[in-house]
């Protein structure tokens, strides 16, 4: 019960931070103050909260779970590529968006697109697609909260109650604190995880009898040795993954966050230290996920390994449903929690449970971003603010936060988690495919609103097509992929155990390339914005 008490104390602290931020705002009901912390965040808060915003449950629990199943490749796939691409996009795109936001008062990406390309309803289309792709994150955050509280309390806190508490706490500090509260909470959470992540590695390593022994034993086992290399992953798949981090800058909550810096100089530390923060958090999670395979005295981990073994040896003769069930059983998303439960002393398990809780609660930024987008891109754009005033706009944003959180909680109670995990995978590719919008808006004078519409429609079509394809064609057993379509001896589309491949690449690669081509081709044959508008963006 002690870990659960520590987590509850942590939740009380973050709620207090949100309310403290509300008091700090001094009752000002200005939209810019509530939604963007008055564009006043300093370098320390800006770095840690931007990083914390990106560190979701998927990053912490998902990384160790992925490493448990796939081995050390997880770090190269997801962490080191993000450590290069994300700060690079913040440097190239984030700084420019910040400057335009400061100059012209933009608070959302859609406001900028509407102004840049002189469009109205196309901007609304972009808003709808962004919002639809973002919603699964909020739901999965609440689900993660319920699961984590249930695990750290040894099952004493039921899933529905844990999810409700997390939903209420997040709703509370977003409702009261707005962007300021969210940024402070994210900073607190990131510092907590950075501090205790390294401690966890040392404590678990010592308790396991040293990592050197565990790794050498894995090398000696034919079933586990491949997890210490990348021989089970194709180089094309590995390369494809470098396209996924393009999604980060296209996420509305990240781009909106870029508008909160007081000065552009704040970006300097963020850009430089971002890869090191990724290193500090992902390396322990991935390494612990890999060595969890050597743990023999935790029944839940043994059950996962047994499910994986059955899948590998008998998967080909099973029905797709039986394979899916075994995949679910072998999933390692809770291995980090199991290791803590088994090896960490109670106080540390509690602190790390709180750290994991912090990552799970990263849905706060997404809730606030959706609220900002709704009030700015819909409420204000269609005349709400001019008719009712800015104070009503802020209140509308707060009401939106409450309704969205309650709806997400209701869905989290009823729907299976795997659906939303899948939706998040599609969303990453979807946001990556939307990234050409930003590049074209900021760097290419010749881009047009019709090019933007083509990119948006293509993104929707591609995401839906991949989702439908994967639901209709069951995933094969571990081993070679199933060929679906070939041309001239080349394998064009294949169904892999983990998803889909197009010419051997993940779908995100053709999605981004086609989106970029559509932006170029459609823009070349359609009319450009007025010279005065172009002058604003390309002085």
């Amino acid at each position: 019960l002690i870990p659960a008490i520590v987590v509850f104390i942590y939740l009380a602290i973050v709620l207090y931070i949100g309310i403290f931020a509300f008091r700090r705002a001094g009752g000002r009901e200005k939209a810019e103050d509530y939604f963007l912390a008055n564009r006043s965040l300093g370098p320390f808060v800006f770095l840690f909260s931007l990083f914390g915003t990106n560190m979701t449950a998927f990053a912490i629990l998902g990384s160790s779970g992925h490493a448990f199943t796939n081995g050390i490749v997880t770090y190269g796939l997801m962490a080191s590529s993000s450590g290069l691409v994300i700060p690079l996009t913040i440097f190239l795109i984030g700084t420019r968006v910040w400057a335009l936001g400061k100059k012209y008062g933009f608070m959302t990406p859609v406001q900028m697109f509407r102004d840049r390309w002189e469009c109205g309803h196309i901007g609304t289309c972009i808003f709808v697609v962004q919002a639809t792709l973002l919603v699964p994150y909020i739901i999965i955050g609440i689900m993660g909260g319920g699961t984590t509280l249930n695990a750290v309390s040894g099952g004493r806190v039921p899933y529905w109650f844990g999810g409700a508490i997390v939903a209420l706490v997040v709703m509370g500090y977003v409702f009261f604190g707005g962007m300021r509260g969210t940024a402070w909470v994210n900073t607190f959470q990131t510092v907590l995880f950075l501090l205790f992540g390294a401690v966890a590695v040392v404590v678990i390593g010592v308790a396991m009898g040293g990592f050197a022994n565990a790794v050498k034993a894995m090398q000696a086992s034919p079933a586990l040795a491949p997890l210490l290399t990348r021989e089970r992953i194709s180089p094309l798949y590995f390369f494809s993954y470098t396209f996924i981090p393009l999604s980060a800058i296209a996420f509305p909550h990240i781009l909106i966050f870029c508008l909160t810096a007081r000065k552009m100089a704040q970006f300097k530390k963020t850009v430089i230290f971002y890869p090191l923060c990724i290193l500090a958090i992902w390396l322990p999670c991935v390494f612990l996920g890999v060595v969890a395979n050597r743990v023999t005295d935790v029944p839940q981990i043994r059950a996962k390994q047994e499910a994986r073994r059955v899948l590998a040896t008998q998967g080909k003769t099973m029905t797709p449903e039986a394979r899916d069930e075994l995949r679910e059983q072998s999933s390692g998303d809770d291995v980090l929690l199991r290791l803590l439960e088994r090896y960490a002393p109670l106080w540390l398990a509690g602190l790390l449970g709180a750290g994991i809780m912090a990552a799970v609660m990263a849905s706060d930024s997404q809730i606030l971003a959706l609220s900002t987008m709704f009030t700015e891109d819909v409420f204000a754009y269609y005349g709400g603010t001019s008719r009712f005033g800015e104070a009503v706009q802020v209140q509308t944003g707060r009401i939106f936060v409450v309704i969205l959180t309650l709806l997400a909680y209701a869905v989290a109670l009823r729907a299976p988690e795997t659906i939303f995990e899948l939706a998040i995978q599609y969303a990453f590719s979807g946001f990556a495919a939307l990234s050409p919008l930003l590049v074209a808006a900021l760097f290419w004078k010749g881009s047009t609103k019709w090019g933007a519409l083509a990119v948006t429609v293509w993104t929707v079509v591609a995401v839906v097509a991949v989702a439908v394809f994967q639901s209709m064609v069951p995933a094969p057993a571990p081993g070679p992929p199933t060929l679906i379509y070939s041309l001239g001896g080349y394998e064009i589309v294949t169904r892999t155990p983990g998803g889909t491949a197009v010419l051997g690449f993940m779908p995100v690669v053709p999605m981004v390339i086609v989106a970029s081509l559509l932006m170029i081709i459609v823009s070349l044959v359609t009319s450009k914005p007025r010279a005065a508008t172009l002058q604003k963006y390309f002085p």
């Binding site: 490749v73 080191s80 910040w98 290399t229 430089i272 290193l279």
Partner: protein, 79 residues
Amino acid sequence: MTRILLVVVVTALYLLHQDFWFWRTANPLVFGFVPIGLFYHACFSVAASLVMWLLVKYAWPAHLESEVEQQQPEEDAAR
């Protein structure tokens, strides 16, 4: 010239991410327990940070900042 060099450095780093030379081996184990493929990518993260430092030092878009600063006093005066 500096910009071209920086583009080359960033491109080279992106290509170095595809380290096919450590694909099928865990050895040597760095510090006795870190597989070489994992250690390489940890070092890659440090290299990415250094490249970001180079970008910030030599290609910082200072003109954006000055444009904003120029506009702020004008707005303040207008109020």
